[in-house]
């Protein structure tokens, strides 16, 4: 069974270059990728992730709202009784990493993260959660 990933844009950030490139990189690596479009809310992402029964949720955040929005997505998923891991990609300063980890974010891919790093991390996260 291939790994299923939901990639999502939460909030008002319309920058979708990164999410589209990463989605194709994940597909190239044999994963199934679902994208629900721009301007999603934390609740809509959680509902889609559970309905689609994905293995990982990948959030793309470039607007600086990651400290507010990423923890809310984790919370909405956990409130629905699911342990799906959430990873974040985008403009995330190193100082914010600890806070995101504490909030339950499983991995963060900053600017310049390589395709290999993203694929390997997601693959091992899924292996751990099985």
């Amino acid at each position: 069974m291939s790994v299923r990933v939901l990639v999502a844009k939460v909030g008002l950030d319309g920058h979708d270059r990164g999410i589209k490139v990463v989605a194709r990189i994940l597909r190239d690596a044999g994963m199934e990728v679902i994208y629900t479009g721009l301007f999603q809310t934390p609740a809509s992402v959680a509902i889609a992730a559970i309905q689609e029964d994905v293995d990982v949720v990948g959030l793309s955040l470039l607007s600086g709202a990651h400290l507010t929005l990423a923890p809310l997505v984790v919370e909405e998923i956990r409130q629905r009784g699911s342990e799906i891991p959430v990873v974040v990609g985008g403009i995330v300063p190193a100082n914010d990493l600890a806070e995101l980890k504490t909030a339950g974010v499983a991995a963060v891919f900053g600017p310049g993260a390589s395709a290999d790093e993203i694929v390997t991390t997601i693959t091992s996260l899924v292996a751990q959660s099985l």
């Binding site: 950030d13 920058h15 990728v33 809310t41 507010t68 900053g110």
Partner: protein
Amino acid sequence: MTELSPYEQWQRAYEASSLRDRPFTTMSGIELEPVYGPGDGEFPGQFPYTRGVHAAMYRSRLWTMRMFAGFGTAVDTNKRFKEIIHSGGTGLSTAFDMPTLLGLDSDDPMALGEVGRCGVAIDSLADMRDLFSGIDLSSITTSMTINSPAAVMLALFVAQAEESGVERKLLGGTLQNDILKEYQAQKEFVFPPRQSMRLVRDSMAFTAEQMPRWNSISVSGYHIREAGSTAAEELAFTLANGFAYVELAQEAGLAVDAVAPRLSFFFNAHIDFFEEIAKYRAARRIWAKWMRGHYGAHDERSWQLRFHTQTAGVSLTAQQPEVNIARTAIEALAGVLGGTQSLHTNALDEALALPSQKAARIALRTQQVIAYETNVANVVDPLGGSWFIEELTDEMERQAEEIFGQISDMGAGSMLEGCIKGIEDNWFQGRIAESAYRLERSFNDGQRIVVSVNDFREGNEDEELSILRITNEDEQKQRRRLGEVRQNRDNEKVRTALEVLRLAASDPEVNVMPALIDAAKVYATVGEMMSTMAGVFGRHVEVPFL
């Protein structure tokens, strides 16, 4: 009377130009001509303007050092604006936060976590007043980088200026107001494309009639490139959008010469030095030919493509960020050698956050080094005549023309319809995503090197820079300010103004600008004006695709 040669014509124009009081010599004292080339060739200031729109270019006047800034509340940004002016910046450019860009008030539930983060939060006339407090708007030009709510922001700007005693006809500046590239690339849209284009039409008609110094649209390739397009796609999509706005104006009964001189352009300066210079030269040539040939413009100002340049945000790295100063300097130099009218240089820390004050100052200083130390501004189009640059310019033009053909086919001969159809079919979006993917793959497989990212990584572990932090406190502060505005205004007047706006929006023959200005003056908020119009226009949802 014998006809003057291109050189003689240029010479006349040059002699009629005022010049900066500088020695136009090399550092070692060699006297420099204002431009070089054979006497029967093309000279700057001459159709089709490949070599520049003015005969003397930077010998008359340097480019405007227009620094893009905005964060937190209007009071915070006003302070940064004053710092920029104090450091020698010669123009202002306003960055708005995400809620403002999408026409939402700071207390909207969707705005949570985004207020003041990526730019300044503007909710009402009260914020607009604070934003420009103490800045003389008749002496410094202002650019406002906003699109979906562009007409609303223009209304607030006019209301604010008139309140401070500056007549609208004296206001100089630029509204980005380029909605087509929002659907294609930046994705900050609110209304469906055709309804958005109606607002563009209204603001164009209004400024053409009442604000002669105002640039109604800054047709922007910057975001198309940042979203991942190639240089030729940036060039072609941007100019095609420009043609679409001209056709829109013509459909509304406005003469091409009434609107084209008030269109300006905005291009990216990416890291491929010569390709960028060729892109700017080709842009001027294509625009001139199309305006005169296809659209029948007679006024030479309609033929002259003027543009702003910003260095490429996507070329910056979070690793070893100081190296970004070098990247930005090279990109900025391409903009200058390509004949830009104004320039924003990115700060070294922008792969991490909005720029700190120090980083923003270094970025401005980079422009000042190019302007005042290198002597590159002494000679117009210094690379013109290079076999390489001329061929690359021709190739850019060829590729762009091929794309125009595809867009025109989609619109059955209309660039306006072709641009809208291409958006509705995700044609532009798909091409941009494909180019972004290819470029990323070339980095991933090591075909292309990015210093500090996929090679030369020693030093990546160095200490972090001190970056600008926007806190949730700023968000709270802005919400409180908005609450006060709502409390202190006359809500009956607001209701009436919004009803007048709703009626204006409902009649496609009516221009909404007067209703927006009246609503702005009684402190209707950006969110209220936008949702009133959304009630009539509907909202756009992009069909997700990968």
